[in-house]
Each structure stands twice: as structure tokens, then as C-alpha cells.
């Protein structure tokens, strides 16, 4: 009886279990169906993200050459060490370990991580930009031990500027700003782009295209195999108009003199920039792999403003170098002829005010040629006053002064050649005739940039064509060099050759006869030029400020071209507080000497030694 009951109970309870378990297994099957079929796409994507990584292959920027294809800007390999938080299990541990491996302060690493905390976790946080080989080796070893699976070492092509010459011309590179990323579809966050100079202006050519490598990684981030690889495309190569040796001659000369300033040297025929400098300079290599804060702070807080490109951004009073513009206006407007004579007694009176010549005893009676040679102020007061400010303004502008030159560099500023309209508009005042007298010797409100002075020299040299200075000569996108035609001239002044020749004669005499430019003389090359010495402060002011440490020495100019009758080179040298224009002529001498020696295949002149000829 009991046995029968037992049997019955067992059968019932077993059947119950059977149903329950069948239901349980059905539920399991449905669960798997949901995961594997319904939600398959989602999990498949997650699995792919798990084991596939896309690594950027940085494209090297294009190499920059001089006009004879001597490399000026190259690339080197550098290594950056970054944390990719996407793969981090314990950020604190990673930071601590990485700091000790790299030999860095833990707080410094933490600070960097903190700064990028809000960025998406797949974006690498760069801890060391230009890692030493020892650091790379230490990190790589740890990675192999699976201790730092979330730290990546990336090889980054980095700019190298072999000689620190023409820093302002090349400019520097840096990480792209967020604003630029949103403005330009071609740019992505983290890209290295040109921030100034050639690097900036021709960034689109130089940048190249990053490649990518898709790899399979395992759970500790080790690469197992490559799925596909798109190699990076190197940026286009640029051939500049600059001549390495001329550039070097300029840099050597400035090193010798120790003055701040600028120099721009052109081919007067087409505006090719043969040399270009701004002093003080900086080392663009410091920016190449990301500039550190200390260096950046010292560059930006330096009172000499080394990041400022004086050649295109500095505005200075031209002094006597402006006299050729006044002479051109007077001659072309028919106010005088080259033989027009003025008597200089050391000073002259205009509108009831005395105006002094620099030579106390006066120059006596002289014509235009000698007035240029001697830089006689009274002569130019007189003809400037006769010509009038409107005409001076017109011709100075035609010669390139008070205008942007249009050089292919960013942030060029405009100088100023005043006119009554300008004064009315900006100062709300009438023009006084007495101002014209001051302007006639390059004082008053006239201000010019060194690059516009170079254009001025080139225009006088080539007979009136206001060439546009330019740096780019040819581009190689991998299929060979293609010449870039020089930009069109800005204007062509209808200069009478005979009248212009009188001015050129005067400029030739400045260098080769009794003038102030004999420092630039090169036998057989008919160097022509004009010095200018511009006060940075009035004589009365000088006395007042005399007791301070401020540098009150005059600025020195030298504009030049050579040879006089068939010019091949023209330009300007400007020395900030350079005391006298004849010091600037020393620089011009060395660079022209180098230029002609190279052209004729002679050995280049040795590094200059200026001490003997320097005006202290």
C-alpha cells in the first residue's frame, strides 16, 4: 500500500520536475535567441571594438628646400608616449607606474591627465612629446609584461630645422586649435599644423595626409596582426626662392653685430626673396614636438619680442632713406630737374620755423646727385616743400612705401606715408605745410616696414616695377617639380629713365664716393645704396630719458641694389638701435659679396669681422 503510494508520488513529482526543467531550458534557449539573434548587431559591434584598433600613421610634413634645392626644413622621428584611457583598468595605477617608468613626477603626469579628462577616452593623452630612447625602451618593456596595456608609444615625424636660420620665415608648427578644427573640415583634433611663417601659409601643401593601420589586438592590447594599412602621404615639397648662402651671410652678419633688426633681400626682376631675417630670433625646433611652458613663457614675456617678425610687422621711421621717394616725386612731377641746385647753409626756415641740416656748417650749393650723396636735409626740405605732400604720397606709394608688400607670409602690417586725407580721417586735423618739410627727410609720421623698404629698393633698381616679394618657387607633389609663377607686380610706375638715372647716380656716389655707404662698397659691382639714421626719440626727450637704462641709440637703415645699371639684387638692412646706417651697410656688403661670389663660382667670403668699421 505504502509502496504503491511511494511509486505514485515519485511519478508525479518526477513529471513535475520534467516540466519545470523543460520550461527552464526553453527560457535559456529564448535568452540566447534574444542575445544572439535579436541583439546580434549591437554585440557584434562591441566585439569588433574590443579587438580592433585603428592607429594613426602620422604623415611627415613636406621638406622645404632653398632655391638650389638645399634642404632647409626636414623631419626627424620622435616618439610620443600616451595613455589611452579606453583600455585602462585602473588609471591611478597606470599614472603611478608610468611616472616611475618615465622618471617623472607623479603629480606632473596626473596634471596632464587631468587636463584632458573630458576628452573621449579613445583619444590618447600625450604624456611625453619627444621621449628619450631610454623612456621608450622602459615603456615598451612594461608593455610586453602586460603591465601597461593602456600606454602607447607612437612614432611621430617631427620637424627639424637644421640651422636655426630664418626662423620667422619658416615659422613653427604646433597642435591645431579647436577653433581651426571646427572651421576646416580637413583638420582633426591633434593634428600638427603650421602656426606662423611658411609653415602656416603653405600648411595645406606641407601637411600631407595621415595614414591608418587597423590591427587586431588581444585582451591586453598586444597587436596580433594587421588587417589593413593605408600608408601616410608625405606633404608636398616646397622649393623656396631663398638662397641658403645669402641667408647664412645675413644671419652671420647679425650674429657678428649683435643688433636686433631685420633684413629682406630680393631679386629686383621678379620679387624672389633671396634672404629674409628678423632679429632677435628663436629656435623653431623648440616648437616641433610641442613647446614646453617655460620656453613659451620666456619667449612671450621677453621684452625684445623674439616671436615678432620685425621684417613684416615692425614699423619704423625711414629717415634719410625716404629721400629717394621725395626726389622721384619732384622729378616726375616736373618740379625740378636733376640739375636743380639749392644752397645749404646748415639750416633753412620754412613757415617761420627753422629746420636744421645734419651738417652744422652746411653743404654749400649742390645739385640732386650730390644732395643724395651727402644726404643734405636742406635740399630735400626745399624740394619736398615745392612738390607738396599729395605728390610725395602718390610717388612714395608707387614705389611701394606705406603699403603691404603682399609677401606670402601671414600677418604683414602696413606702413604709413601720410597725406592730408589720412590726417583728416584719422586725426581729424588739417595738414600743416610745415609737416611736409619734416616728411621730406623721412621724419614726422612716415613709418615703413623693412619688407616695404626692400620693395622700394627693388622698384628703384628695376625702373619702376613694384614687384611682389614671394617665397615659393616650385612645388613637388611627388610627380616632379612644378614652378609656381611669381605673383603679378603691384604696379608699374611710369618713371623717366633719365630722371631715375640721376637718383641712381646719387645712390652710387653714396657707396663709391664721399657718401656714408662706403661700407657696402664692392669693387667692380657698382653697389648703390642709401643709409638712413632715424632717431627713436627727440633730442629733448633723449636728455630727459638719458638717465634710464632704455636703449636710446638711433635706428640704422641701409637700402641698396647692385650693380647700378643692371641690378640683380636689391634689399634693405635695418638695425634696431644700430647707431648709424653705415653699420647696416656692413651687413649689405657681406650678403652681396656672398651673392656675387656664389653666382660667379668664386669661393664664398669667410665669416665677417666688422669691429674695425663699426660706428660705436
Amino acid at each position: 500500500m505504502a509502496a504503491h503510494e511511494d511509486r505514485r508520488r515519485i511519478t508525479i513529482r518526477l513529471s513535475l520536475l520534467q516540466y519545470v526543467l523543460t520550461v527552464v531550458f526553453s527560457i535559456l534557449a529564448v535568452s540566447f535567441w534574444v542575445l544572439q539573434v535579436v541583439e546580434h548587431a549591437k554585440f557584434e559591434e562591441m566585439a569588433e571594438n574590443n579587438h580592433q584598433r585603428t592607429l594613426a600613421l602620422r604623415a611627415p610634413r613636406g621638406i622645404v628646400f632653398d632655391r638650389h634645392l638645399q634642404p632647409l626644413v626636414l623631419n626627424r622621428r620622435s616618439y610620443s608616449i600616451s595613455i589611452v584611457r579606453e583600455h585602462t583598468k585602473d588609471l591611478n595605477r597606470t599614472v603611478t607606474m608610468l611616472a616611475s617608468v618615465l622618471g617623472m613626477e607623479e603629480s606632473a603626469v596626473r596634471q596632464i591627465v587631468e587636463r584632458h579628462r573630458r576628452e573621449p577616452t579613445y583619444r590618447p593623452i600625450v604624456i611625453v612629446q619627444d621621449a628619450t630612447l631610454a623612456q621608450v625602451a622602459a615603456v615598451t618593456a612594461r608593455r610586453l609584461d602586460f603591465e601597461l596595456p593602456d600606454v602607447v608609444v607612437e612614432q611621430v615625424p617631427t620637424r627639424r630645422y637644421p640651422d636655426t636660420l630664418a626662423a620667422h620665415l619658416f615659422g613653427y608648427v604646433g597642435e591645431v586649435s579647436d577653433r581651426d578644427v571646427s572651421a576646416n573640415d580637413a583638420l582633426r583634433s591633434g593634428d600638427i599644423v603650421g602656426q606662423s611663417g611658411i609653415e602656416k601659409i603653405y600648411n595645406a601643401h606641407l601637411m600631407g595626409e595621415d595614414g591608418a593601420r587597423r590591427v587586431v589586438v588581444n585582451s591586453v592590447g598586444r597587436e596580433i596582426r594587421t588587417l589593413e594599412e593605408a600608408p601616410p602621404t608625405e606633404g608636398k615639397r616646397l622649393q623656396l626662392t631663398v638662397d641658403y648662402d645669402v641667408q647664412k651671410a645675413i644671419e652671420d652678419s647679425f650674429d657678428q653685430l649683435g643688433f636686433n633688426g631685420a633684413a629682406v633681400v630680393l631679386d629686383p626682376a621678379n620679387g624672389d626673396v633671396l634672404g629674409f631675417t628678423s632679429r632677435p630670433t628663436y629656435d623653431p625646433n623648440a616648437f616641433a614636438a610641442g613647446i614646453d611652458r617655460v620656453t613659451w613663457a620666456s619667449l612671450t614675456s621677453d621684452e625684445d619680442r623674439p616671436l615678432n617678425d620685425r621684417a613684416i610687422q615692425g614699423r619704423y621711421s625711414p629717415g634719410s632713406t625716404f629721400k629717394m621717394a621725395v626726389a622721384t616725386a619732384a622729378l616726375e612731377e616736373g618740379v625740378i630737374t636733376p640739375d636743380f641746385k639749392v644752397h645749404c647753409g646748415g639750416s633753412a626756415s620754412f613757415y617761420g620755423r627753422p629746420f636744421k641740416c645734419w651738417k652744422k656748417g652746411g653743404h654749400g650749393t649742390m645739385d640732386l646727385r650730390h644732395a643724395i650723396e651727402q644726404s643734405c636735409n636742406v635740399y630735400f626740405y626745399t624740394i619736398g616743400n615745392m612738390t607738396g605732400i599729395e605728390k610725395i604720397h602718390k610717388w612714395a606709394t608707387l614705389l611701394g612705401l606705406g603699403e603691404r608688400s603682399g609677401i606670402d607670409l601671414p600677418n604683414e602690417v602696413q606702413g604709413l606715408v601720410p597725406s592730408p586725407e589720412w590726417k583728416q580721417q584719422y586725426r581729424k586735423e588739417k595738414w600743416y605745410a610745415g609737416e611736409t618739410v619734416s616728411v621730406s627727410i623721412g621724419q614726422g609720421s612716415v613709418s615703413v616696414t623693412p619688407v616695404s623698404m626692400a620693395v622700394y629698393a627693388a622698384t628703384l633698381a628695376n625702373g619702376g616695377t613694384r614687384v611682389t616679394p614671394h617665397l615659393l618657387k616650385a612645388i613637388d607633389d611627388g610627380t616632379g617639380w612644378k614652378d609656381v609663377p611669381p605673383p603679378a607686380a603691384k604696379s608699374k610706375a611710369p618713371l623717366d629713365p633719365e630722371k631715375l638715372q640721376a637718383i641712381r647716380d646719387g645712390l652710387w656716389m653714396v657707396v663709391n664716393q664721399a657718401g656714408t655707404g662706403h661700407n657696402a662698397q664692392i669693387k667692380g659691382y657698382d653697389v648703390s645704396g642709401k643709409t638712413g639714421t632715424a632717431q627713436v626719440i627727440s633730442n629733448q626727450g633723449k636728455e630727459r630719458a638719458g638717465k634710464t637704462d632704455k636703449d636710446l641709440r638711433d635706428n640704422g637703415w641701409f637700402v641698396f641694389f647692385a650693380p647700378r645699371d643692371k641690378p640683380e639684387i636689391a634689399g634693405v638692412v635695418f638695425l634696431e638701435h644700430g647707431v648709424h646706417g653705415s653699420n647696416a651697410a656692413l651687413v649689405a656688403h657681406h650678403l652681396m659679396d656672398t651673392f656675387f661670389a656664389k653666382k660667379e663660382g668664386r669661393p664664398l667670403p669667410p665669416k665677417p669681422e666688422f669691429k674695425a668699421n663699426l660706428v660705436p
Binding site: 505504502a2 511511494d6 511519478t11 535568452s31 544572439q36 541583439e39 546580434h40 574590443n50
Partner: protein
């Protein structure tokens, strides 16, 4: 002794399903570990040895009448307790737990055999009484279960220890324990949970539960395995990525893929189709075993079969659920498929007893 006519009563269908699952396991172990560049590439060979040994144990378990085993069950039980105590003090330590005894190059895990031992002793104990078990019967049965439970839990190996509880519950259930008492037991467990939470569970055990409830709480730590398990299973799709083509298991995003997570690997590489085959095989084994329990000629036989089945079923259901990331990660292997010699031998020996009961249903 083994009579020739008994041979014809062996449930070959069940044996076939068991062997099919073993083969599936070996294939998956091969897929995840056979890599000439890695030291553990010969694991599938070891597993094959274990299967052979297990089949030997199975043959041994069906040669003698199951009543011979249950008659000696008190001795077997005491022997097992001795082994468990021995392990606790002198066992080999691996991954922070003392679970193994070294036997000539092999590591034996006595806790796996405890399941069979407990099934035998409980079958005997409840089989001797007629009618529904009294409260004192239940108490004694409970104590018989809790002694090995405590010893295994001390190793510590809470996962394996927990598999002993279903053995007791199942046998008591079949022996006629009132459903009311079953309900009270569940209620008591439910009430004990917060107390256990506070006092008994270690921090890592707590974190496993909290991260199960919300894996993203600790996506890189304890929740990691669970998220990875779901990705592994889900990315398999309908037909799978193919043999040895699974990225999750092959690239080790999923930990111990050849062991606790072998079912996830199956799901990834063979897809939902493979999952259905494996689940079908397991369900077949379970239903076939329930059948054996029903057909058994005496209560003792039924209890023994269900006792063996209980821990097996519990482990299968839990492991498969966990493999899909649907249960907290616990170190519970999948019987017949996961890598592990002791488990394989004990499981096959257990099924030897099941076959034993079934084929002797007509003998006296």
C-alpha cells in the same frame, strides 16, 4: 555481478548524448587552447585522458549492483570526509584555494566526488524509510549534506559547495518532503540572504553580486567578465564565427574560456545553432535521467538517480546562464564540457550509477 543480459538494458541513447557533449567540450577546448605558441596547447589531450578515465569509472559504477554501493555508502561517505579534511590541511594551493590532492602527477579534486558520495548516502538514508520523511529525517539528511558543504566551503570553494544543496533538496523532494516545508526552506534562505550578505560573504563575493545587478558599475573589474560574456555570446549570431574564429575567446577578452566560459565560446563560434544543439543534448540527458528515476525498481534507485542528476542540472543551468552574462560570475564549471579531470570522472561515474539503476530495473 555483471550478467550478460544486463548489457542489453544499458541506455545507449543516454551514453551517446553524454559522449556527444564530451566531444563538443573537447572541440571547444581545442579551439581555445590549441596554440603552438602557448604552453597550455595540449589541454585537449589531457581532457581526452580524463574522458577515458571517466568512462572507466562509469563502467566500474555500473558493473556492481547499485545497492552494493548504497550499502557501502556510509564507508564511502566517511572516506570522502577524510579526503576533504586532508585537502583542507595538506592539499595543493592553486589560485588562493586549497582544493587539490596531488596523485601521481594529476591533481584530484575531492569536492567533485563529494556530490556522488552525498547522493549515495542520502539515497540510502531516505530509501530505507517508507512514507514522507519526518522532520528529524530531514534534519539528519541536512546535517549529512552540510558537513561536506562546510568542508568544501572552507577550501574555499563556495561554488562547488553550493552544488551539494540541490542533492539534498532533490532527494528530500522525491522522498515526499512536504511542499510546505520546501516553501519554508526557500523562505528561510531568502531571509538568510541579507544576514549572509552582512556577515558571511567576502567583499569579492559581494562585488560579484552588485556588479551583476549593474555590470557598468565596474566595467573594467568584476563586471568585466559579465560584459565580455554577453559580447561573446551576442556576437556569435545565428551561425557563429566559425571554429577557432571567435575573437572574444581566441584573443582572451573572455577569461578562462576553456573552463568556466566554455559555453560562451561555443555560442560565439557555433552561434545560436550550436547553442540549441548543446542545450538539446543537455535537456535530453536530463529528461532521460528523470526517466531512469521513474523506471527504477525501488525508491532507493530513484533517489540515487535524482541525487546524481540534481547537482548536474544545477551546474548546467547555472553555468549556461552565467555564460550568457545573465548570472553573477561564479567559478562553476559546465559538467561534461568544461576542462577538468576530476569533474569529468565524477560526472561520468555518477551517470554510471544512473545507467546502473536503469538497467537493473528488472532484476531482484
Amino acid at each position: 555481478m555483471f550478467e550478460r543480459r544486463l548489457y542489453y538494458h544499458i541506455d545507449w541513447a543516454l551514453v551517446g548524448a553524454l559522449l556527444a557533449l564530451c566531444a563538443l567540450g573537447v572541440a571547444m577546448i581545442y579551439s581555445t587552447t590549441a596554440d603552438p605558441t602557448r604552453a597550455m596547447s595540449r589541454m585537449y589531450i589531457t581532457q581526452l585522458y580524463a574522458i577515458v578515465l571517466g568512462l572507466g569509472a562509469m563502467v566500474f559504477a555500473l558493473t556492481l549492483d547499485y545497492r552494493t554501493f548504497t550499502d557501502k555508502s556510509h564507508l564511502i561517505y566517511i572516506g570522502l570526509l577524510a579526503l576533504l579534511i586532508y585537502v583542507l590541511f595538506l592539499g595543493n594551493v592553486q589560485m588562493g584555494a586549497r582544493r587539490w590532492i596531488g596523485v601521481g602527477g594529476f591533481n584530484l579534486q575531492p569536492s567533485e566526488f563529494a556530490k556522488v558520495g552525498v547522493a549515495l548516502v542520502l539515497a540510502k538514508f531516505f530509501g530505507e524509510n517508507r512514507g514522507a520523511p519526518t522532520m528529524s529525517d530531514l534534519a539528519i539528511g541536512g546535517v549529512l549534506t552540510l558537513i561536506p558543504f562546510a568542508l568544501v566551503a572552507r577550501e574555499p570553494d563556495l561554488g562547488t559547495a553550493v552544488t551539494l544543496l540541490p542533492v539534498f533538496l532533490a532527494v528530500a523532494y522525491l522522498a515526499g518532503m512536504k511542499m510546505r516545508i520546501l516553501g519554508i526552506l526557500f523562505l528561510a534562505l531568502l531571509l538568510a540572504a541579507p544576514i549572509a550578505w552582512k556577515f558571511a560573504l567576502k567583499d569579492y563575493q559581494k562585488s560579484r553580486v552588485t556588479t551583476f545587478l549593474d555590470p557598468s558599475l565596474d566595467a573594467k573589474g568584476a563586471g568585466y567578465q559579465q560584459i565580455q560574456a554577453r559580447i561573446t555570446v551576442g556576437s556569435g549570431g545565428l551561425t557563429g564565427k566559425g571554429f577557432k574564429q571567435g575573437t572574444q575567446g581566441q584573443l582572451r577578452f573572455l577569461p578562462v574560456a576553456h573552463n568556466d566560459f566554455i559555453f560562451s565560446v561555443l555560442a560565439e563560434e557555433q552561434g545560436f545553432a550550436g547553442v540549441l544543439v548543446a542545450l538539446g543534448l543537455y535537456l535530453f540527458v536530463i529528461l532521460r535521467t528523470l526517466d531512469a528515476a521513474r523506471l527504477a525498481k525501488d525508491r532507493l534507485g530513484s533517489y540515487l538517480v535524482l541525487g546524481v542528476l540534481a547537482s548536474f542540472t544545477f551546474q548546467v543551468v547555472y553555468n549556461v546562464t552565467m555564460s550568457a552574462g545573465l548570472a553573477p560570475v561564479k567559478g562553476l564549471t559546465l559538467p561534461l564540457m568544461s576542462y577538468g579531470g576530476s569533474s569529468m570522472i565524477a560526472t561520468l561515474a555518477g551517470f554510471g550509477l544512473v545507467l546502473n539503476v536503469r538497467m537493473r530495473r528488472f532484476t531482484n
